[in-house]
């Protein structure tokens, strides 16, 4: 195929030379944001909320460029940015003649400059992203400050590795003070593993502690749906909507379930409800 930028033969839409050229100026390869407006936002917060406005991207690219030229910079932030891009934008890399793990390689480069436990945490995250769970566990265990964050990460990792007994021991310790966040981590880990029954029980407990946790209701609905219990799924979705009336995902799933069950009247009412609060269903391809 031809490179869309220079027209030369290429294996991917952007050829090797063009990729190298872009990479020199913009190490993160993305030059313009996917978002409109150019609002001021703290870099850490922007990464956390995926708000990569033009200026934010420019700052990150400039910072990365300087860091790669040995001029220093906030390496921890750059590692986080690389990890963020790997998690959310690695599809973008397929357009370039570059390795699919380019963002992770960048993260490794930056994290090697971060010292102490902070650096170890970052390396642990990279290792996890690479799918090397045993290696990740080794790094995690080398962390000297074995605080709550460490325990939580370890428990999560153990669930991911399928070491349920070991994970359970840590969770029992962590769950003594009924922290919904810890319950959430456990539930999400079970959900990701596909242990829907277990996840369902934990989500049900979360909504007992925190009645307005719409995400827990939503995940409950997904569990019910995967387990084939559509009635309960619909109930959970209605709860999710009453906990957060702007939770579009719940509306969309509930509409789909109503349609599947041929519940025309309920579907119509739900659509009207969405419209009434300003969520136009046609924006999301329904209605």
């Amino acid at each position: 195929m031809k490179c869309v930028l220079c027209g030369k033969d290429s294996l991917r839409p952007v050829c090797k030379d063009c990729t190298a050229k872009i990479k020199r100026e913009y190490p993160f390869l993305i030059r313009k944001g996917f978002l409109s407006g150019n609002f001021e936002e703290d870099l850490n917060k922007a990464l956390e909320r995926d708000l990569l406005f033009n200026d934010i991207l420019k700052n990150l690219n400039d910072m990365a460029k300087n860091a790669l030229q040995g001029k220093g910079g906030n390496y921890a932030l750059l590692t986080q940015a690389s990890l963020h891009l790997h998690r959310h934008y690695s599809f973008y890399l397929k357009n370039f003649e570059i390795g699919d793990d380019y963002y992770l390689s960048l993260a490794e480069k930056f994290s090697s400059k971060v010292r102490g436990d902070e650096g170890r945490y970052l390396k642990y995250e990279i290792m996890r992203e690479r799918g090397n769970l045993k290696g990740a566990l080794k790094i995690l265990d080398s962390i000297s400050n074995k605080d709550r964050k460490y325990l939580l990460e370890k428990a999560k990792l153990l669930v991911e590795m399928g070491e349920m007994d070991a994970a359970e021991g840590i969770y029992q310790e962590l769950l003594k003070d009924e922290d919904p966040k810890v319950w959430r981590t456990l539930a999400d880990a079970l959900f990701t593993r596909g242990s829907y029954e277990g996840a369902l029980k934990v989500y049900a407990h979360i909504v007992e502690i925190k009645k307005d946790d719409h995400m827990a209701y939503y995940r409950m609905a997904l569990c019910h749906q995967y387990m084939g219990n559509l009635k309960m799924a619909m109930e959970a979705l209605r709860n999710a909507i009453s906990a957060n009336k702007y939770h579009v995902e719940s509306y969309l799933l509930l509409l789909a379930l109503y349609e599947r069950r041929n519940m025309k009247e309920e579907r119509k009412k739900l659509i009207t409800k969405m419209r009434r609060i300003g969520l136009e269903p046609s924006f999301f391809g329904v209605g």
């Binding site: 869309v4 409109s36 407006g37 973008y92 397929k94 357009n95 702007y246 939770h247 009434r276 999301f284």
Partner: protein, 644 residues
């Protein structure tokens, strides 16, 4: 008159429309205007309800159907639209037929101005001056109108909406009445601390505000803090000795605190203010009963019934009193009166007790069955029924367990059937599974529920393993064929994971395509040129819209290659085109593109954020806000507005 209107500044025109809307009897909730259009969000109060109207004035000679449809949302229910122009409408016959849309042209507009006496005002210079100089800030009337709406929403228990209106009113002027209403709304929402904090501010400004003390007492009562609630009510009546609601509430709190003498005093005070409130007489009766003054209590209940013969609770209390006094005939009469007015569990249980005392078992059973029909799980009714039928607690438990076991057996049968079907669909034969299916059924038939359950779980695992195995075989076979075509050799195909097989297949596919193209280019053996071009087209198709090159559109956007960009039809392409339209201030187009992007992928947060931005730029604040709320980025509403 038309000339005068055409010469008016937009401010004057809006004021004229505002006055006309008010003269027509509407209450205005909100108004906006731009260019030559003024929009009023209003309602027409009617006895017992109100109609929601959006009234749009357009100062233009010709108004097309498209312009109207651009301004109104025809699918919104419960809203009526009134569109008034200084000119004429074109091609709007179908709109005229709709019940929810009223269209008025200049003749109608002129008639309205004349009918409501605004014509004369406009023609007089002095009046015109008044219109020009009339208020810009919202008036007290408007604040009151907002509060009225808030009150109505509060009464309907639509607290979110009530809060929105009361907050708007407070923004204009933080009147104590508005703050107290807000506290009541927050109470309804269960946000007690927030409500208390508002009431504290109100009381700091005026310690003698008895209504604020009353609301505070009610909130503390909701929080089960009866001692503090009593204190608040004491303050309330200290500043307003004739606050009836407060005396009643205070009496109720005293009753809960079992301070019967004090409760009686409160009800007496309430009765000294108003003697025709049946609930006070009724509660007074309850207190007197606690104090052992049965005759007085009975008199009190009778007065409540005299004032309101349909006041059911007084009959029930009267029945309880007779029952306690073992006057069962009179108790029966009273409870029947109660049940005639209100059929509930308490009434039927009391009726059953009376029948039981009179040894009328059949009637008692009937009453209990009615109670259980209303509330199937009512423990008192169940226990009474068991007592009546001579059953003990253990027998009850056993019956419950049996029922549950039967239910479990039914569910296990259903699941076994499902598993059998699944196994048959797999089209493989496995002796072990077949044996397990038989054994599980035998166990269920024999009532060995626990063993059957364990077998069923093992069976599920077995069938799942069979499924995976069969799928893996298929994938291996398929991959092996592709590897042959790509001239690739892999020895340990069976040891690879599904993910690894997938990667191998992708690699093989690419090699096949590339080798075929190379052969074609070298003119060697392989496909003919036509086939090669076809294949190239396929690959390019993949480049332009395929999953593999997701985000290519964004690169084209960065490079400003619009022609190529338009050929791609994925969510990133529509998002990129939307961004371009936004930059060119073509907001309508931008909205269309972002909607297309979202339609392609409803979880595409960037497109949703951009859509909110574009909608805001088009003046559709409501929808923009809703999208930002969904994204958890509501604070960007202000940032976007500032950006505007």
């Amino acid at each position: 008159m038309k000339e005068i209107i055409e010469r008016m500044g937009m401010d004057e025109f809006v004021h004229l429309c505002n006055r006309l809307v008010m003269e027509m009897g509407f209450k205005i909730r909100n108004s906006v205007y731009r260019e030559n259009i003024a929009v009023f969000d209003a309602y027409m109060p009617l006895p017992g309800r109100s109609l929601h109207y959006v009234i749009i004035f357009i100062r233009k000679n010709k108004v097309s159907k498209e312009e109207i449809l651009d301004m109104i949302d025809v699918e919104t229910v419960e809203v009526r639209w009134m569109i008034i122009t200084t000119g004429k409408f074109e091609d709007v016959d179908d709109l005229k037929r709709r019940d929810d849309i009223t269209l008025m042209e200049w003749e109608d507009f002129e008639r309205l101005l004349r009918e409501f006496g605004l014509e004369e005002e406009m023609s007089r210079e002095q009046r015109g001056k008044e219109i020009r100089e009339s208020r810009i800030l919202p008036s007290v009337g408007e604040v009151e109108s907002m509060l009225q709406w808030a009150r109505e929403f509060w009464e309907d228990e639509n607290y979110d909406k009530a809060l929105e209106y009361v907050n708007n009113a407070i923004k204009i002027k933080p009147l104590p009445s508005a703050l107290k209403l807000k506290a009541r709304i927050l109470r309804g929402m269960g946000k007690y601390e927030e409500a208390i904090s508002i009431l504290k501010d109100v009381l700091e400004a005026n310690i003698e505000d008895d209504e604020a003390w009353l609301i505070l007492g009610e909130i503390l009562e909701d929080m089960d803090d009866y001692e503090e609630a009593e204190e608040a009510y004491a303050q309330c009546v200290r500043f307003n000795h004739r606050n009836l609601a407060c005396w009643i509430n205070r009496g109720n709190v005293m009753l809960l605190l079992e301070k019967h003498q004090e409760a009686l005093m409160c009800y007496e005070k309430a009765l000294s203010i108003r003697r025709d409130v049946p609930s006070v007489w009724n509660n007074r009766g309850v207190v007197l009963k606690h104090l052992g003054k049965y005759d007085d209590a009975l008199r009190s209940y009778n007065i409540a019934i005299e004032i309101d013969p349909d006041f059911a609770d007084a009959y029930l209390n009267k029945a309880y009193l007779y029952f306690d006094l073992r006057r069962y005939e009179e108790a029966l009469n009273a409870v029947e009166e109660y049940l005639n007015r209100k059929e509930d569990v308490r009434g039927y249980i009391l009726l059953a007790r009376i029948h039981m005392k009179r040894n009328l078992k059949k009637e008692a059973k009937e009453a209990l069955e009615k109670a259980l029909a209303i509330e199937p799980g009512n423990q008192d009714a169940k226990e009474l029924l068991d007592k009546l039928e001579g059953r003990g607690r253990e027998e009850r438990e056993l019956r419950r367990l049996r029922e549950n076991m039967e239910k479990a057996r039914k569910i296990l049968y259903e699941n076994l059937d499902k598993l059998r079907k699944k196994y048959e669909e797999l089209g493989v034969s496995n002796e072990q599974v077949e044996n397990m299916l038989k054994e599980t059924k035998n166990m269920l038939d024999g009532g060995e529920i626990v063993d059957a359950l364990l077998h069923l779980l093992a069976l599920m695992q077995e069938i799942h393993t069979l499924e995976i195995k069969s799928l893996k075989n298929m994938v291996e076979k398929d991959t092996s064929m592709l590897l042959d075509l790509a001239n690739m050799k892999v020895e340990n195909l069976k040891d690879l994971s599904p993910k690894e097989l997938e990667l191998l297949r992708e690699d093989a596919m690419k090699r096949i395509i590339i080798s075929q193209i190379e052969k074609g280019e070298q003119g060697g053996e392989g496909m003919d040129m036509e086939e090669i071009h076809k294949l190239e087209k396929e690959i390019l198709k993949e480049v332009s819209a395929g999953e593999e090159y997701k985000g290519l559109a964004h690169i084209l956007y960065e490079e400003e290659k619009w022609k190529e960009l338009r050929r791609i039809g994925d969510e990133h392409a529509y998002n990129a085109l939307g961004l371009k339209a936004l930059a060119n201030r073509r907001y309508k187009k931008a909205v269309e593109y972002f909607i297309k992007a979202l339609n392609k992928n409803p979880s595409y947060r960037a497109a949703e954020f951009n859509l909110a931005y574009a909608l805001l730029r088009r003046g559709d604040e409501r929808r923009a806000r809703a999208l930002l709320k969904h994204l958890g980025l509501e604070e960007y509403m202000e940032k976007m507005k500032k950006g505007k």
